[in-house]
């Protein structure tokens, strides 16, 4: 392309070029491997930070409690102890699963603060199997449970009210949302913010991280 000076550009051609570039930009994101390498560099560079499940602030306490509930309800051991987690574990998913939304098959008929739970079954081998509602220092935390054909269970919790502090963990971004991935005992936990609320997904370690991120990033609005 050494003859740029020889060919004038008209308005329509320039506008077409803008649209072409815009389309290419919209479909291009940094590869996950790059994100992970940068995250590893960042984790090495930063000073020791407050752990999610430690610390005395309200947000940290609430976050720890959410994590405990999700872990306990999700069926995995090894999570943080405490009466709250133990009580949650005893209760288990006590309610029936929400039904699939009639007009939006990618969603369930359950939401918290306007954030709906997805119905994955049309896209992934996970179906809603139960639900539970808890109060954490006055905040509503609703967990919907999903199971796959191998009877593995995932807990999907949305916490009402202001979002919680983000925990320290491996961060990755997809679209407009970024996700923090943690390992807790034999569970993998992903947390992110959607619609101004904290969402937490907890799964057995047998569920690959990538699968869990795919589930987390799938809002359910993809199917209409």
């Amino acid at each position: 392309m050494g003859d740029h000076e020889l060919h004038p550009v008209d308005e329509a051609q320039s506008e077409r070029g803008r649209a072409i570039v815009q389309a290419a930009v919209a479909q291009t994101r940094a590869p996950l491997g790059l994100r992970e390498r940068i995250e590893a560099d960042r984790a090495r560079a930063r000073p020791a930070r407050r752990r999610w499940a430690l610390g005395g602030s309200f947000a940290a306490v609430a976050a720890a409690a959410v994590l405990a509930i999700v872990l306990a309800g999700g069926g995995g051991g090894g999570g943080p102890g405490g009466r709250q987690a133990a009580a949650a574990g005893r209760r288990g998913p006590g309610a029936a699963p929400p039904a699939v939304h009639g007009t939006h098959p990618g969603l369930l008929k359950r939401s918290v603060g306007g954030v709906s739970y997805p119905s994955w079954q049309a896209k992934f081998p996970w179906h809603a199997s139960g639900a539970r509602e808890d109060k954490l220092d006055g905040r509503r935390a609703v967990t919907v449970y999903y199971e796959n054909p191998q009877n593995a269970r995932i807990g999907y919790t949305i916490v009402d009210g202001e979002p919680l502090d983000e925990p320290a963990g491996s961060r990755t971004r997809q679209g407009d949302e970024h996700y923090v991935v943690l390992k807790r005992g034999d569970r993998t936990v992903v947390t992110w913010r959607r619609g101004g609320h904290t969402c937490v997904l907890s799964a057995p370690a047998s569920v690959p991280r990538e699968k869990l991120l795919a589930l987390a990033s799938w809002s359910g609005t993809e199917i209409t």
Binding site: M1, H7, V9, T28, I38, R173
Partner: protein, 174 residues
């Protein structure tokens, strides 16, 4: 003048996509773009950085450009390897189901790389990285009017380059 504030390492991840696209537009290959972005982050994270205002992206773009011009041009003199189409792995999972779009995007970035440097830099700064004209002018040390003019022509030449690419593909098929 606003007070200096420390660049928050935790917020840097928000800019990875934009930097990666910009790096691809500069380097011309995804592999080099990944290396450039990682090198950029490594430099920024090496020590605390203090900025005035909220222009994190502009700062990162400056480091990325400096890194590109200082090291990647030297590297480009070495023998290059090119990913073959069958090896092409879409950067975005969404395009994994639409390989033709991924290849189209690659063609667009190749057209951007082929632009004269001034045009390419303006287009990368504004259309690819998403800087404002003002931010791009500051980054590139040019007037906003100059950026506008370069951008206008750069866009036109990308369109022309894509047309030529499509024509040659059609000729090969026939």
């Amino acid at each position: 003048m606003s007070e200096a504030r420390q660049l928050d390492p935790d917020s840097l991840g928000d800019h990875v996509d934009r930097l990666y696209r910009a790096a691809w537009g500069l380097c011309g290959s995804r592999e080099d773009a990944e290396d450039l972005v990682q090198e950029t982050y490594a430099k920024v994270l090496a020590k605390p950085r203090f900025l005035r205002g909220g222009d994190d992206l502009g700062y990162l773009m400056r480091v990325l450009r400096n890194t590109f011009y200082s090291s990647h041009r030297t590297a480009q003199r070495r023998p290059q390897t090119t990913a073959m189409p069958e090896d092409f792995e879409p950067a975005d999972r969404r395009t994994a189901q639409r390989p033709e779009e991924a290849l189209e995007a690659r063609g667009v970035f190749e057209a951007i790389v082929g632009l004269p440097p001034d045009f390419r830099d303006a287009l990368v700064a504004v259309d690819v990285a998403g800087l404002s004209y003002r931010e791009a002018a500051k980054l590139l040390g040019a007037k906003e009017a100059t950026i506008t003019s370069r951008l206008f022509r750069a866009r036109g030449h990308v369109a022309a380059g894509m047309d030529r690419g499509r024509s040659s593909v059609l000729e090969e098929k026939n």
